[in-house]
């Protein structure tokens, strides 16, 4: 099992991450916040239904779309863009310094503790319908897979191929992909927990819950 204490210590040495907010699409930008040092918050609520702090509006074809802060933190830097300027998709707008949350720390540590099933190729991934149905009915942490099971479909260039799971049997503890996004080769798709380690993983999660103090 992994050494949780030293991993936590390592994370505590650099408990921030800097997030760059990019324009999601082209359009005219209108900033709602203009000063570095401002504190912002991310989406919240059970279903993330409460948006984060409004950063800017981006208007295209008469459609004014709000750009919200994706995470809580502090605005540390604005890129050199004028208000009402037409910006292209993917233009960097500003940077947020974000203190890692408990959940993010858990995710970092789980990536080291679980067996990761990695994307063998770049593409979009979907669960095969049998697994998808089980996950929808039972949820993460309750669906078992074994070596050789058909688990995922890889879609690239409109061609779909069934992907067989290669790794130790266990439960699908977490997923790392979104079917609408392309996954890079080598990126984790699934975090699988061998059945005999479920209790240990739960203990890891509990230790982080109590051992990590969230800050703004």
């Amino acid at each position: 099992m992994i050494d949780i204490t030293s991993l936590l210590e390592e994370i505590k040495k650099a408990p921030y991450k800097e997030l760059t907010v990019f324009t999601p699409h082209s359009g005219r930008i209108e900033f709602a916040l203009k000063e570095a040092g401002t504190t912002v918050h991310g989406a919240s609520g059970v279903w993330n239904e409460k948006p984060g702090t409004l950063l800017a509006y981006l208007t295209r074809e008469g459609n004014r779309k709000p750009v919200y802060a994706p995470e809580k933190g502090e605005l540390v830097m604005f890129h050199d863009i004028d208000d009402h300027q037409f910006v292209q998709a993917g233009t960097p707008l500003l940077k947020i310094r974000h203190f890692l949350t408990k959940q993010e720390v858990i995710d970092i540590i789980l990536k080291k503790a679980l067996h990761l099933f990695l994307a063998p190729e770049k593409g979009r991934y979907y669960f095969v319908s049998a697994i998808d149905t089980k996950l929808k009915a039972k949820g993460l942490g309750h669906v078992n897979i074994r070596q050789g099971d058909e688990v995922l479909i890889i879609s690239r260039m409109k061609r779909e191929t069934v992907l067989v799971y290669d790794g130790p049997g266990g439960i699908i503890y977490t997923t790392y992909f979104n079917s609408s996004d392309s996954v890079e080769v080598g990126s984790p798709l699934l975090g699988v927990c061998p059945n005999n380690q479920v209790e240990e993983i739960k203990e890891v999660v509990a230790r982080i819950q109590s051992g990590w103090e969230e800050k703004q």
Binding site: S26, E61, F86, G90, T91, E121, K158, E160, T161, S182
Partner: protein, 468 residues
């Protein structure tokens, strides 16, 4: 013409060809690209030939609002959709022409796209005009019981016609280009395939309607290239044969004209078939007032019976193979240029008698894929890509030849189109093989395995082109 500026709402080689056609016509252009395409030659060329203001990054080629925002920001007056994406979306075409800041849509009018772009409407129109169509459904089916009933009747019909092993096709009605089609030989398997196609169609097209048709075996796949203007002029640019396809029914080689009756023996009157499908296509084009480039796709049975499959209301990938054998007043035709010209309101300016066909053309679609393993796309980095130039060769590609190129996985896997011309089929085939022999296409995937391409497949299939 000169006061126009065209938004090229597409990517890759078609964006490059539209760009070149605009330059030929002295029309300004604006290109777009997404993150995955930042290393494509269409971006490099847009900057080189149009300057910094000629290239905009967008989040998706499929976001109309964004395309319109770029069109307005860059002062465009027209939109060329290329092929795929919005090319056959009548709602998009209608919006282009009806939004508050109106633009010209370089394609058929939206009403024509609505009427012909839908496989179902096309079939109904064809039947009304006594144009033969493939037996099967003439509307998308969403209900499993209805689908099963039709499948069962098509199996019975084929048995009555003496077909020993009847087969039907299940197609995603919103699909196209050979995607989302499977064949089935019995009702039990039909149920499984129906579920699979519906699920695929829901994921890929967000529409789970299916079409069910009789599978016609050992057919040839022919096309008729049509061009009309907004003033009632309609002409054709001959036929193409697109029978050489991958196992997933993706075209790999196209030949123009569609048969070679002077040099190859057919079990039917091939000249008559070519003339019949051309006449049928023109009949439908005139009926709907077809006003751009368009392709009528045909299945020709081994006994020489044609069945209309569908109409593609767009410029097609293979337009160049028709163009290379077509001359108007002695000049080689560029169908994309013609499409832009008529799309911006010009008259054709010529009649059918002014179009002369000369020689044979072969188009090779060059892809990184594994033909021996169900044509699975190969994904990785192209390190070397080159070919010798010839006066009889047109090469269209968005793959850079002076730097490595990572093949994006988000789009169709076409890398390049090599179109060769010959005085006759023999010469065209010889030149085709010479082109393929000298083509260099090398690279590696992330595991260090060498690039797999379809070049050998193309070479192998060259000898039997147009033999039926």
């Amino acid at each position: 013409m000169k006061r126009n500026k065209v938004l090229i709402a597409n990517r890759g080689e078609i964006a490059l060809r539209i760009m070149q056609a605009c330059l030929d016509l002295d029309v300004e252009f604006t290109c777009v690209y997404t993150r995955e395409d930042s290393n494509s030659e269409h971006c490099t060329e847009a900057l080189k030939k149009g300057g910094e203001k000629a290239l905009y990054r967008i989040s998706s080629y499929q976001d109309p609002n964004e395309l319109f925002a770029v069109a307005d920001a860059s002062g465009c007056t027209a939109v060329h959709p290329g092929y795929g994406f919005f090319a056959e979306d009548f709602r998009f075409a209608r919006r282009v022409e009806q939004r508050s800041k109106k633009l010209s849509f370089i394609g058929p009018s939206w009403k024509v796209i609505q009427e012909l772009g839908d496989k179902i409407n096309t079939k109904r129109l064809a039947r009304k005009l006594e144009v033969p169509t493939v037996p099967g459904s003439d509307k998308p089916i969403f209900d499993d019981l209805e689908a099963e009933e039709l499948a069962s009747s098509l199996f019975s019909f084929q048995k009555e016609m003496g077909v020993e092993q009847p087969v039907i096709l299940v197609k995603a009605s919103a699909g196209g280009g050979g995607m989302g089609i499977e064949e089935v030989g019995d009702l039990d398997r039909f149920r499984t395939v129906l579920r699979r196609i519906k699920s695929y169609a829901r994921r890929q097209f967000r529409d789970e309607g299916v079409l069910i048709e009789q599978r016609i075996f050992d057919f040839n796949h022919l096309e008729v290239q049509i061009l009309g203007d907004h003033h009632g002029g309609v002409v054709h640019f001959g036929t193409r044969n697109c029978t050489v396809q991958s196992s997933g029914r993706q075209k790999r080689i196209e030949v123009a004209p569609g048969f070679d009756p002077e040099n190859i023996s057919y079990a039917f009157d091939a000249s008559r078939v070519l003339s019949d499908i051309t006449e049928y296509s023109l009949r439908m084009a005139r009926e709907v007032g077809y006003d751009s480039v368009g392709t009528w796709e045909w299945i020709i049975s081994p006994t020489g019976h044609p069945f209309l499959m569908e109409v593609n209301t767009r410029i097609q990938v293979e337009n160049g193979v028709s163009a290379i054998i077509s001359r108007i007043r002695g000049h080689e035709v560029n169908l994309i240029r013609e499409q832009i010209r008529v799309g911006l309101g010009s008259r054709l300016g010529y009649q059918q008698k002014d179009i002369v066909f000369k020689g044979m053309g072969i188009e090779y679609r060059i892809l990184a894929e594994d033909p021996d393993n169900n044509f699975i796309p190969w994904v990785g980095r192209i390190e070397n890509f080159s070919w010798p130039d010839h006066p009889w060769l047109r090469m269209y590609t968005h793959v850079p030849v002076n730097r490595p190129y990572d093949i994006p996985t988000e789009f169709d896997p076409n890398l390049a189109l090599g179109i060769v011309w010959g005085e006759n089929l023999d010469q065209a085939k010889r030149r085709g093989k010479m082109f393929l022999d000298k083509l260099v296409l090398e690279g590696f995937n992330p595991s260090g395995e060498p690039l797999k391409s379809n070049v050998d497949f193309l070479r192998r299939n060259t000898d039997k082109l147009l033999v039926f």
